[in-house]
Structures are given as structure tokens and as C-alpha cells.
Amino acid sequence: MSRMSPSVEQAAPSLGLPDAASFLPAGSRVVRIGSLSMTFNLHDLISALLILLVILLAVCASLMLGSTHLSLSQVWQAILGEGSPAHQLLTMQIRLPRIAAGLVVGACLGAAGCLLQGLARNRLATPDILGVHQGATLAVVIAMLAGAGSVLDTWWAAIIGASATLLGVLAFSGRFGSNGYRILVIGLGLTYLLRAMTEVLVTYLPLHEASAMYTWSIGTLLGRDYAIAAPAFFGLCLLLPVAVVLARQLTLLQFGEDTAASLGLNPERLKIAVVLTVAVLTALSVTVSGPINFIALMAPVTASFLARPDQTPVLRSTLLGALFVIVADTIGRIYSDVETPMGVIATMMGGPFLLAVILFQPQSRQGN
């Protein structure tokens, strides 16, 4: 019958039989307890731990560097509640909350970028290139015009705007994942359109709000604290497990929609789930820091260098996103006396990165 349980006798080892251990990728370990069977991969684990270590170093550097340089021991004393009050204030009230906000922003972008790339089967399909950032920004401006409060109170509007944009790109480009670069250029066009609408609408805002909006729209972590990062943090905690499950299914989608469907996947439902998850993650990041470009490109592409071809490395991409944001923010802080917004640094890092990906991306990846 169909659900036959394969008998072990049939698979009795004989000469020339492949070793079962080598079915799984190198470094994989299986844990079986009763009917429970779980796998994990040492190589994946080690690369994730290495990224965590680098994040830790970056956080230390970010705590130390800035307009006032602190030594590591001064930072440590401040964390323990010792040392000069000025240093305690700087570390605990300014830098640490800001780093926390940055980690959340980067993690959201890293996860969102990885999922969207997996769905579109194209490394260049990231929320910022497809216009999701601009959609969220426009919605925030509209909400502000409607009297919903300041930029930072409108995270719900950002979610609506981001979802609507991504669904719009999907509708305009036909099928996801089979159009190669078409979806990207349509996303690019929508980005321009949404930016234009934002620019026109911003002129209707009162001057002080318009200028706050302008600063926000470049993307910065200046003055961000735990309270601002809280909604994004809770969203991340809720959506990261979802992202891991979706990533597992996205791996199947790599074999084409027909094959994925015949392996028991529902591609349509997966698309909607991914689109909504990506939209929410992106929107949450946008509400904390403003739209920051290219993190959602750099994180998953770097993660894919560390991962195997048949993986959607969403966790490592999440970690790398957090890392890149902290690095960009720290560079922006020490680059000159006037603080440079993190979004500017990310754009400067990301432009050449994007060019390299385009030039060296093999043609067959385009899914034509």
C-alpha cells in the first residue's frame, strides 16, 4: 500500500551500498528519541556562532567608539554601575539602547531579505529594491497627514504600506520567481512612483514635521531607544520562528513550483505567507530607523556564501543583518565630527556590493 513502512530487511547492507551517513550534508548530526528525529548541522552551527562572536565584537566597538571614546574597562565599569556618571549615562542610556535598536532593525531586514530572495529565486529581489521601504514610508507620511502623530507612532501604517506595495509588485509582474529581472525593474519603477508621491505629500506637512520626516527618511539610529525598538522587537520574536518554517518550504520552491507542489507544498499559500512576513518585518525596521537600503541585500547574499546551495539560511542572514547595521552605524558615528546617518553608510557599502552581485551573478540564476 501507499503508506508502507519500509522494512529494514530490504535495505540490508551489502557490497556497494551507499553509506546512509553521507545522505546528509557534511557535518550533519541526527538525534532520534522514540518517534522524534531531529537534525542539526555542526558547520551551520559553527558559522552562526562565529557571526555571533563578530556581532559581540562589533557591539563592544560600538560601545567604545564615538564622539567620546571609552576604553573597554570603562564600558564594563559603566555596565556594572561603576565609574563616572557621565560614562554610565553614555553607555547605559545612549549607546546601549541605540545598539539594541540597531540589532533589531538589522535582524528584521536580514530575515526579510533572505525570505524574499528565496521566494523570487533571485538574489537581487530585496525589500528595498522592490519598493517596500518606499511603500512603508509613503504610508507613514499619509498617516501623519491624517493626524496619526509623529513618525515613530505610525508603525501600523508602515505595515499596511509595505504589504500593499509587495502585493502590487506581485500583481504587476505576474508570477513571482519566473520572471527573472522583470519583477526587479517593476519594483524599481514602483519605488520611483512611491518616492514621487511621498515627495509631493511631504510638501503638505507642517515644516517641522517635514524636516523631521526628511531626516528620518535617510535612515538613522540617532536617539533611538528601547521604547522605540519595542514593537519591532516583539514582532521579530513572533516572526522569526515563522521565518524559519517558511525558509524550510522556500528551499523546496527552489526546485520549481511544479516539483514543490508535487512534494506536498502549497506554493500560493507560501507566497502569501512570505509576502506578509516580509512586509511586516520590513515595515517594523522602517519605523525604527527609517528606510535603510541594501542591508537586506548584503545580509542574505553573504549568508548564502556560508550556506549550502539547497539552504535558505534565514537565521544566519538575520544575524548578519544585525551585524551590518551595527557596523554601519558605528562607522557613521566615527567618520566625522558631525554624525553621518547610518543609512548613508549602508548605501555606500551597498552600491558597490550590488554592482558586484549583478556582474558576477551567473546567468542561470535568473530563472528565465
Binding site: Y181, R182, V185, Y204, T347, I358, L359
Partner: protein, 341 residues
Amino acid sequence: MSQAHRPAVSRRNWASVAMLMLALFGVVLTSMLVGSGQLDAAHSLSYLLSPADNADAYVNMVMTELRLPRTLAGVIIGVALGVAGSLLQNVTRNPLAEPGLLGINAGAALGVVIGISFFHASSSYSMLIWAISGALVGNGAVMLAAQVGAASMTPLRLVLAGVAINAAFQGFTSLLLHDHIAAFDQYRYWILGSLSGITMEAVGQIAPAVLAALALAAALTRPLSALTLGDDSAKALGHNPNLIRALLSLSITLLSAAAVALAGPIVLLGLIAAYIARALAGHHLRNQLLYSAVAGAFLLLSTDILARVINRPFEAPVSAVVAFIGVPIIIRIVHSNRMFS
């Protein structure tokens, strides 16, 4: 080749050109009559009909120092960007190529900001020089991207390479503007792309560069036609493809840089003008250039008028208004062209 058809085609062409010119005259007139300020159309018209009778200093100021330079600048920039777009599309054989999308405008803008920030450039001449230097770098980056990818550089890929080039330039521009508060204050509006605040003096300084570039483009029309058939065909017809490309790049660079120096980076105008020109003129290159020049001027002026009245008394950046027309065209091109499926 089709000698027999030529007169008929030509006659139809001249009819279309005449129509377009008429439309252009219409928007030029409207541009002189309509503003975001308090001077209404009737007063403007009476001033235009008999400027001598009109002694009102305010009207005189608005008409000659605000609207006239603005209108002239609109025509010059529109022509420049339209022709640049058409040339670039034919050189790269890509219906999505455009100085703004590919990063040439952003390069010119970076050049201007460098000039302002580090060298205190203030005259239109010096801004033009800086814009040209920046546009040259931008153009070089585009050509490099097109060459490095060579075989695999599909039209859509080139556009995405443009996103990258744009990003790199914009990143530097924001960085400089952020460090130089004075420059930021002065050029915050310029960087969005706008025709407001352009002086007659600036127009006078930039116009010769545009005229020179247009002359160069006109001289290159025939070789470019050969080049669109492919390098081998162009060689067989006795042209040097690389020389043509270099000269064309020079013309495109000059045109884009002049537009940016006057009005800041305006994206998508070249794309729209070239699209309209291709629809009207087919593959006939000279007509394409002619149409895109007129269409560019018409479009820029009419969107500028729209930008003035859309939210009185404030002005919307004209580049934003252009995007409303340009984006549907992008989507249309991407959907209708077999190259992109």
C-alpha cells in the same frame, strides 16, 4: 532603400512635428502665464502683449526674472534630456536606458556637490564643469558595467547596474551634503530636481554647452544608425564603432551634465521622451532624435506647470511629477517587450 515611400513618410513627419511644435508653443505660453504665486494669467497675458505699457515692477520682475528663465530652462533641459535619452537607448540598444536610471545624472549631481563643498563653486560655469566631470565618471561606470557583463548584460541587468551606480553616487552625495551644512541648505531643493530659482544668467551660461552637444549628436546621427545594426555592420559601412561610441558618450555626458547643473537630477524624463519618439518615428533615427527633443521640452514644461499649481503656494519637485508619467511607461515597456520575459 525605400525611396518611393520617402516623401509620404516625410510629409506625415512634418505634420507630426508641426503638431508637436504647436503643443510646445502652447505650454511655453502657459508656462509664462501660470505660476504658484499671486500673479494671475490675465495680468501676465496683458504684460506679454504689451510689455512697454506695463510699469508695475512686481509684474516685470516675476515675468522677466522668474518665469522667462524658468520657461527657457525648461525647454533647454527638456531637449537635452530627451535627446540624451534617445541617444543612450540607441547606443545600448536598451529601451530602458536613461541618464537618470543609469546613474549618469547622479554622477553629475555628485560632481556639483563636490564642487560646492570643497571648491566653493558658485557660478553656473563652474557647476557645469563639475557636473560634466561627475557625469563622465557616471557614464564611464555605465559603459564599464555594460562591457564587463558584455555577453550576459541584458537590458534589465543594465538597469539594475544603474541602481547600483546611482546608489554609490547618492551615498557620496548625501555624505558630503551632511558634512557641509551650508551646501545642504542651498541645494536641498536642487537635489530633488526642480526648475525653480534658475536665473537668466545661468541659462545663458549653460545653453552653449547644450547647443554644442546637440550639434555633435546631429553629426553622429548617420554613424549611430549604422551602429544600431551591430558593430560588424557599422565597420562594413566604414565607421569606427568605438570612436562613434566615445563621441556619443561625450554628447550624452554634456547633455546630462548641463541639465543637472541647471535643475538637479531629473530621472525618467529621457525615458519618456525617447519612448514617445520611438512610438512616433519608428526606427528612423533622425526623426527619433527630433521628436524626443520636442517631446522632452513639452513634457518638462507641462510637468513643471503642474508642479507649480499642484499644491499652491508650495511647489512640488518636478522630478516627482515626471515619475508619475514615467513609471507606467516602464511597466508597459517591461511587459510588452519580448526581451524582458
